[in-house]
């Protein structure tokens, strides 16, 4: 890929490149922040426009949501453990913790989909009201991010199994764990703004 500073020797060149990609990913996360900020803004504007449809209080069942929250927080923790194993050079530990993270992620998405299906069955769909449009879009956008993260992480586990811990795979693990923590932070906002403020 790009070549930052050729006056460095080649190994250095590779090293710089991986750093460059991590830096770029931080900037990508900033843009993603703005994307979510915009979705939050639309939700805040529309959240009381139930248009005769169900309200937040009628719809949300908090126990399930709290369980989802704990699952996602735990997965953030396990992805941190994966990075720690990687830094120790422990390939098995790294893959193991990534698989645990994956399992938690899948559990989270499954619960969210179940919640959505349940709502749709109760007649609360995206086309019911402005409130529900913004609810499904905001929470769905987060869920979609998590799902993409899951596919990506599976691909990464396969690569790690084949290639072990190299400067490239190291960077990839760093990036995905950044992404995963980011989604966790977004979820905390979702939990607060959408669910807690909804039922309170």
């Amino acid at each position: 890929m790009a070549h930052a500073a050729s006056h460095h020797d080649h190994d250095h060149g590779h090293h710089d490149q991986e750093e460059l990609k991590t830096f770029g990913f931080w900037i990508f996360l900033m843009t993603d922040c703005i994307l979510f900020a915009t979705l939050f803004a639309t939700f805040v504007v529309l959240r009381l426009n139930t248009s005769g449809g169900p309200t937040a209080e009628e719809l949300f069942s908090m126990p399930g949501i709290i369980a989802e929250t704990f699952i996602l927080l735990t997965s953030s923790f396990t992805s941190g453990l994966a990075v720690l194993s990687m830094q120790k050079g422990d390939k098995k530990g790294l893959i193991g913790w990534l698989i645990v993270t994956l399992a938690l992620g899948i559990a989270f998405v499954t619960m969210e989909i179940t919640e959505f299906v349940h709502m749709v069955h109760e007649g609360a769909t995206i086309s019911t009201s402005g409130f529900l449009s913004s609810f499904f879009t905001l929470v769905g956008a987060h869920g979609l991010h998590v799902s993409i993260g899951i596919v990506w992480m599976i691909a990464l586990v396969l690569q790690l199994a084949r290639r072990g811990i190299t400067s490239v795979t190291k960077r990839k693990v760093t990036i995905i764990s950044l992404y995963w923590h980011f989604l966790d932070v977004v979820w905390i906002f979702v939990f607060t703004v959408v669910y807690l403020m909804g039922v309170m």
Binding site: A41, V45, L46, L48, T50, G52, G130
Partner: protein, 341 residues
Amino acid sequence: MTYDTESPYHELLDEEMKSVRPIKRYLVPLLFVLVVALLSGCSDQIIVLDPKGPIGESQKDLIYIATILCLIVVVPVIVLTGIFAWRYRDKPGNNATYKPNWSHNTKLETIWWGIPVLIIIALGIVTVSYTYKLEPSKPLVSEKKPITIQVTSLDWKWLFKYPEQGIATVNYAYIPEDTPVRFQLTADSPMNSFWIPQLGGQIYAMSGMAMTLFLQADEPGEYYGSGANFTGRDFAQMTFKVHATSDAEFNDWVKEVKSSSPALTEEGYAKLAEPGSAEKQAFSSFPAGLFESIVTKYAPGGTHHQHGSADMGMPQPPDPGKQQQTASTADNHMAHSSAGH
């Protein structure tokens, strides 16, 4: 970096004198004369600068003040561009000073940060005070009681309703001169903008809400009005004339409409609201609460209504409470803005 300590102004002035060639001396006045001729040739058609009401008058003053303030910077810049381009052209025999490394001068830079700041402060103060003064929903000071006209933008025609007189018109309106007119604007169509240039500036007409716009005609006449915000296919047909007349003529006109025009029924309105352009029409009456029902069309009963449909309907003269409601519309907008940011 070289710092030039000696002041460049004197030299600049000299160069300015030398560089203005005779032809330019004539060219500028000539252009000026041409522009003035062009302006005066059709000045009665430059309707924004030929207002016939207090709001339009203030807006015209404001336009002139702002233009003059801007010209303080714009004219010197254009003149300097010409002078510098001419003076420092790279031609044999041009012995103008050449200082390739001169790139910084604190005094000069302070001047051109400072002057625009001062101008913008002045303009800002003027603008803010006029913004409050000319807030469209602010009632006009007048001895006469304002008349109310409820305006609805339809696809693609304007419906005017006179709740106090009980009549309605399509694509034209009469107003008494020297009397404040309280326009209440809504839309049963995509967002439009209601504009009568000679009386004053425009305001959007939006579905689900009623905006207030106070205007007044100071003299009798026929004033052009139109929709200014695109609403679809036959948008270009949405023009109308506002006839300002004496009170007596206005009352005669109302009487005539009452006696000679058909009534607007619910079905008639439904038909009128169908997409298409329309000829001028008048109606001797309209269904009670038609305007209110248009404004509240999308508000589901009993739930929160976000559009803050301020001061709907009521044909009474405005009271302080109404202003309160208008302010709440403003807050509503602000909420969108700040939340979105």
